[in-house]
Symmetry: C2
Subunit: 283 residues, 2 copies
Amino acid sequence: MESGLLMAIGGAEDKVRERVILRAFVEAAGGPDANVVVLATASELAETGDRYAGIFESLRADTVEVLRVRSREDALDAGSGVLDLLDFASGLFITGGSQLRISTALGGTAIAVTIRRRHAEGMVVAGTSAGAAILSEHMISMGDSGATPRRRLVQMAKGLGLAPELVIDQHFRQRDRLGRLVTALSYNPGPLGIGVDEDTAAVIHGGEMRVIGSGAVTVLDASGMRYTDTPEVRRGQAVSMLGLKLDFLTSGCRYDLRQRVGMPPLAGKPSIQEEEAMESARR
Amino acid sequence: MESGLLMAIGGAEDKVRERVILRAFVEAAGGPDANVVVLATASELAETGDRYAGIFESLRADTVEVLRVRSREDALDAGSGVLDLLDFASGLFITGGSQLRISTALGGTAIAVTIRRRHAEGMVVAGTSAGAAILSEHMISMGDSGATPRRRLVQMAKGLGLAPELVIDQHFRQRDRLGRLVTALSYNPGPLGIGVDEDTAAVIHGGEMRVIGSGAVTVLDASGMRYTDTPEVRRGQAVSMLGLKLDFLTSGCRYDLRQRVGMPPLAGKPSIQEEEAMESARR
């Protein structure tokens, strides 16, 4: 059995015009047969879940449900109703807000276990903003802005772990987060760093990542790093790192996650229609 | 004959405490035998040249002169007095301000020709902020901030050309300039991109770069770039670039400019005293 497609969305995706990204999620989850579940635990706003539900209904998913999990209490008390919804879902959408709200609410609960199991069984999972960060195993939980690495620029926490080999950051260009992603990889250069701009998604499936949306995905491969002084420098001080690889991918560009190499669009940039067709064909 | 040592300083270098960078410049220019000339054309402030002159005098250079070249008129009218000072100088210091003020004032004049000739003969040249940018042949003249490349994020102009294979940017971390450096290399990935933080210097000599100061030097090698869509995208749109190499160097780290590979400090980070000794030994 193959794990489901993952979509890491950088936040602020178009919700009113073409809705390329949200449409691609519904398509990947089955289009008119999609059974979508929305998890809005990250958000402090009660209406966030319902807003997305409305969008997915207008995009003609078959069924759309919002999980009523707003706190750790909710998560611990969650009965078979919530777990059944996840068992039935073909696509899970995780909204933005604070990724620590998700990890503190869901960590170690049956809901987290069920999400991982269902994703391994093929359920599509998309997350936007905090919902993208939480897909990581080693998650960026907090940090400061800036383009270059500094000691303690970033704080890590355990995420949902659907993308164990990736550290995913979001609002990337808009909030100037390259430095905190680089700093995270200086601690352990094993995972691949993925920085997703707003209104942009990294679509991950079958060992390949593909970019859709209006911005870029920055890919940072530190696995060949030859040197860093990150264990030695003082708080706030600049960190050295030698031997990193960097790619900037825009719509249609692909990345081979096994070989760790970027690839140009197949034949020029695909149109929105082509992207949708590719997305459908992939299912 | 070997070209003189170059120092590209990211701006805001310490002028009142240890003065590691300005001290290293005087040392490289001959220490107690240094004949220092200050070029303050970049600055709109009349006192900038004299302020640096006072510092270099207090650091015990033998002679210190400020070139009276504040405009293109001054540069065109410059008589043998100015050129003689350059012929006599062992070290030229170019202050900050606007690099376009320097390039528009000096471009095509005998002063620019003399600076290039004297540097080729061994004169040490240091520039801070705009004075660092102007060392490039292909110079970043203006641009916007941001960590990732966008169409028209950066404007280029011809610089002094003392570092023909480098594109040097400054105030790098503080003004969030990785994106504009990357964008500049998307136009032509031949030169090496060098982003220098404030209170930090890239010291370039004999095919090697070494870092001193409190920040970092970001090195971007796009020569292996396999793909970009920079000719096609619209103004302000995100640009794709595949196959870049990235190094973050802090004090003591080195970079082989011929092999294009970063190297850690020789044996831990050198102390200020060790750095000065290395600098002296190099002369």
